[in-house]
Amino acid sequence: VSCREHLAQLREHQEELEQLGAVVLGVSFEEPSVIAGFAERESLPYPILSDPERRAYRVFGLERGATAQVWSPNAVRSYARGLLRGRLPRLPRADIAQLGGDFVLDWQGRVVYEYRSEESADRPAIESLLDAVRAADNRP
């Protein structure tokens, strides 16, 4: 799924995530004005933080993809689904090759779950993220 679809899936589970005491943080390397417009359009209940130099991306080992990873069949299908819903992609002004990923930190800030996208439309199943959050509340 695309980032947009992935965030929408997380939004649908926001209540459960809140009940688990979890904080959801999006991270983007786009300009703050682009991020703000995106967050408003998508009605996101959690913040999208900015990492313009992609330092956090590097700390978490997230790399740029090769062409075949960026324009994978899954990615093309994802864009096609968006077009069918009347959603025109924005002309890229940022690096389209940067891959994403999902991580869960436990209450002590330890990384207890990591998922680095293999290609641009590759995201973890929401249920696996929720399982990781449940396990992350591992206080003694």
Partner: protein, 40 residues
């Protein structure tokens, strides 16, 4: 997961008001971090 992220709590990000936020600010809660691609 091998917890090989020595600098994770020092990771510095900017919120939508341009203020610095550190991942260490969220200690005490599970945190789901979603790194995005370009916002097409």
């Amino acid at each position: 997961v091998t917890n090989d992220y020595p600098d994770v709590l020092d990771v510095e990000l900017l919120d939508q008001q341009g203020q610095f936020v550190h991942l260490g600010d969220f200690l005490g809660h599970p945190v789901v971090l979603v790194f995005l691609r370009w916002l097409g």
